[in-house]
């Protein structure tokens, strides 16, 4: 009996994958392998069948389709209306450059053997034979920058923690992926959790930390289940514990659950939360690299940053550095989301344009209407108009126009989008999620929403827009962290690229008829 794969990924489960897997088992008597997602969300649940030529894809499959599919020869990989041929030949996948996601969807996420058979553990094995300084140097050479949004050079952080003298150091993985339009962290945690564990262990060896925590958001129940099981397996197989793979070095790892606060994706807020407190932002300095969790040196990294580490160690920092564009080295898992025909995960070297991602990979909007804008980099990212879609995706190019690549999320909007409403939402979201510690963010967000409501109602538009611009400056310059400091980014992008949406330069319609 050929192997059958049905993803356990949230995007597949949300479309009925569990029922599909049950139906296949009921009919064939074979339990399908629950793999990660290949990242083609519009085809989920994507059922794959192993054939001598390779894996053949069927999707989107519902439980009701299974009987017919099996009758028509799905188990032999035969043609069908839902068949997409060999999975690897699907252009969306074929045109990617997968390093971090190389195994995602291919392997059984919870099989250490499968992981090792597909290139896993090469990085840690190299790291075990290296000095701590040499490990940090390799990360420095790679040019890796934090993938969570801030894009801070990872090597500098590693060296700082490595150089700090303390009786205890920590590795903390920021898995509080709250940005709308992003799901790369979730996908890799569900589809290749051992990669994250390996990355954290290497980080531990590199900076001299023996204890790690994964701070996971509570909105990710599948990732929670998969990670917990993967950590168990990793202990069982000796990747975690007092003697990591016979190296004589210890690394212990624990999963810690958040409780529904977006701000806890900010690293100091996350550390407060991990200490069991309100997730209020800390002033920096001191840097978490010197005084982090429990006041000890702590390396805090996003999931994808840590997942890049095994590849960097296995293939060398230079290999990684030579991919990408300028100071944006390596690959980035971009996530195409929102109103898009072919949404999903596209891992490419930096430098691909926004248009290529939205139109070539994404196939335009799901609604079939023209694209109006794409918000890049989450709720604190800019709305980019179609006219700028030739922009290459790299940190510097986006930085120049006051935007950011962030965590690589791209949310597509069609021409029915109300851009003024989106600008107001940016303030509303900030008001809802602000930790309340600094005034520009706590009060600014509320005032911004109120004034934007007046603009939308057509009340004294030009004066109120001036007020908003003044407020944005205060938030940008005066906020303690990126929450208040970058809420202005989406708002400003609307004011700049979609001035007609806020009625700029038009006369005060609320006064009309009264005269």
């Amino acid at each position: 009996m050929s192997k059958i794969y049905v993803p356990l990924d949230s995007s597949a489960v949300a479309m009925g994958a569990d029922a599909v897997a049950e139906k296949i088992e009921a009919i064939t008597g074979t339990t399908p392998i629950r793999n990660g997602s290949r990242g083609m969300a519009w085809l989920e649940p994507l059922v794959e069948v192993e054939t001598p030529e390779g894996r053949v894809a069927y999707g989107p499959v519902t439980a009701d389709d299974i009987e017919g599919l099996i009758h028509d020869g799905m188990l032999e990989g035969r043609a069908h209306a839902l068949c997409h041929g060999l999975t690897d030949e699907i252009p969306f996948l074929k045109n990617q450059e997968r390093l971090t996601f190389a195994r995602c969807g291919i392997t059984d996420p919870l099989s250490v053997e499968d992981y090792a058979a597909h290139g896993g553990l090469e990085g840690i094995q190299k790291a075990i034979g290296m000095s701590a300084e040499a490990i940090c140097e390799e990360v420095m050479t790679s040019g890796l920058r934090g993938r969570g949004g801030a894009a801070f050079p990872a090597g500098i952080k590693w060296n700082t923690v490595q150089g700090a003298d303390a009786d205890q150091k920590y590795i903390v993985c920021n898995a509080d992926e709250g940005d709308s339009g992003t799901f790369a962290d979730r996908m890799i945690m569900e589809g290749d959790p051992l990669l994250l564990i390996e990355g954290m262990v290497i980080a531990g060896l590199g900076v001299g930390a023996t204890k790690g925590y994964i701070y996971l958001r509570s909105e990710y129940p599948v990732a929670k289940r998969v990670l917990a099981a993967a950590i168990d397996r990793a202990y069982w197989k000796g990747l975690l514990g007092d003697d990591v793979l016979g190296s004589g070095k210890a690394f212990h790892l624990e999963l810690f659950m958040g409780a529904g606060a977006y701000i806890c994706g900010e690293e100091t807020s996350l550390l407060e939360s991990l200490e069991g407190k309100r997730g209020q932002v800390r002033a920096k300095p001191p840097l978490p690299a010197l005084e982090g969790l429990n006041g000890k040196p702590t390396l805090v990294h996003n999931v994808i940053s840590l997942c890049a580490v095994p590849t960097i160690l296995a293939k060398g920092g230079e290999f990684y550095r030579d991919i990408g564009m300028g100071r944006s080295t390596g690959t980035m898992p971009f996530q195409i989301a929102g109103n898009v025909a072919h949404g999903g995960l596209v891992e490419k070297a930096f430098g691909i344009t926004l248009g290529e991602l939205v139109n070539d990979f994404g196939g335009g909007t799901r609604s079939g209407r023209p694209v109006k804008a794409a918000q890049v980099g989450g709720p604190l990212g800019a709305y980019i108009p179609v006219g700028k879609f030739d922009m290459p995706m790299d940190y510097e190019t986006f930085g120049k126009i006051g935007a950011g690549v962030g965590h690589g999320g791209i949310v597509v909007f069609d021409d029915t989008a109300d851009m003024a409403a989106q600008a107001k939402y940016a303030f509303d979201f900030c008001a809802h999620e602000s930790c309340g510690k600094c005034t520009p963010c706590r009060i600014g967000a509320v005032r911004g929403s109120e004034v934007m409501a007046k603009v939308i109602a057509g009340e004294d538009v030009d004066t109120n827009l001036e007020l908003i611009e003044d407020l944005l400056e205060v938030m940008e310059d005066g906020s303690l962290c990126a929450m208040g400091g970058m809420t202005p980014v989406p708002v400003k992008s609307v004011l700049e690229y979609f001035p007609e949406a806020v009625g700029r330069g038009q006369k005060d319609i609320s006064m009309e008829g009264g005269e």
Partner: protein, 156 residues
């Protein structure tokens, strides 16, 4: 009844003391209580304060900070509809309005008979399969208004 109550109190006591001394123990205890009871009973606040050697105000501060911790029981069914941008781009605002109209409640409210609570959630990571929702812990993608019919009908 008194016996049940004391048993539930005993469980809560265990959930609290199990996490004393752990990193982030208070968060762990609160998550455990919320999961077990469906809310954080005010009676647990002084117990938490005592167990973790902090003030009651500090405990309340932590409870009020996080959206997941609620101070009253929710409805029998909990529907969480994503309100974030990727779902907005595929009509979550209208979808939410329709759901609330069918159930006759506002966002964050519970039907008078205590059957259904509708809450906002900010991203379930299903951004390419929106609008997304979570119904009694189960993830749902490409949600249409039909999803809410079953909950609305029983209402009548």
């Amino acid at each position: 009844m008194a016996e049940n109550l004391s048993q539930s109190q005993r469980v809560n006591h265990d959930l609290i003391t199990a996490h004393v001394g752990e990193v982030g123990g208070l968060m762990r205890a609160l998550n455990a209580l919320q999961e077990h009871d469906g809310y954080i009973d005010a009676a647990n606040v002084p117990k938490l304060a005592k167990a973790f050697n902090i003030t009651k105000a500090e405990v309340k501060g932590v409870i009020s900070f996080y959206d997941d911790f609620t101070r009253a029981p929710k409805g029998k069914h909990v529907i969480r509809i994503c309100q974030a941008e990727a779902c907005q781009a595929v009509g979550s605002r209208v979808l939410t309005a329709v759901a609330l109209e069918k159930l006759g409640i506002g966002l964050g409210e519970t039907t008078p008979d205590g059957r259904v609570t509708v809450e906002a959630v900010y991203c379930l990571g299903l951004c390419a399969s929106g609008p997304a929702a979570m119904v009694d812990g189960e993830l749902k993608g490409r949600v249409t208004a039909g999803l809410f019919d079953a909950f609305a009908e029983d209402e009548a």
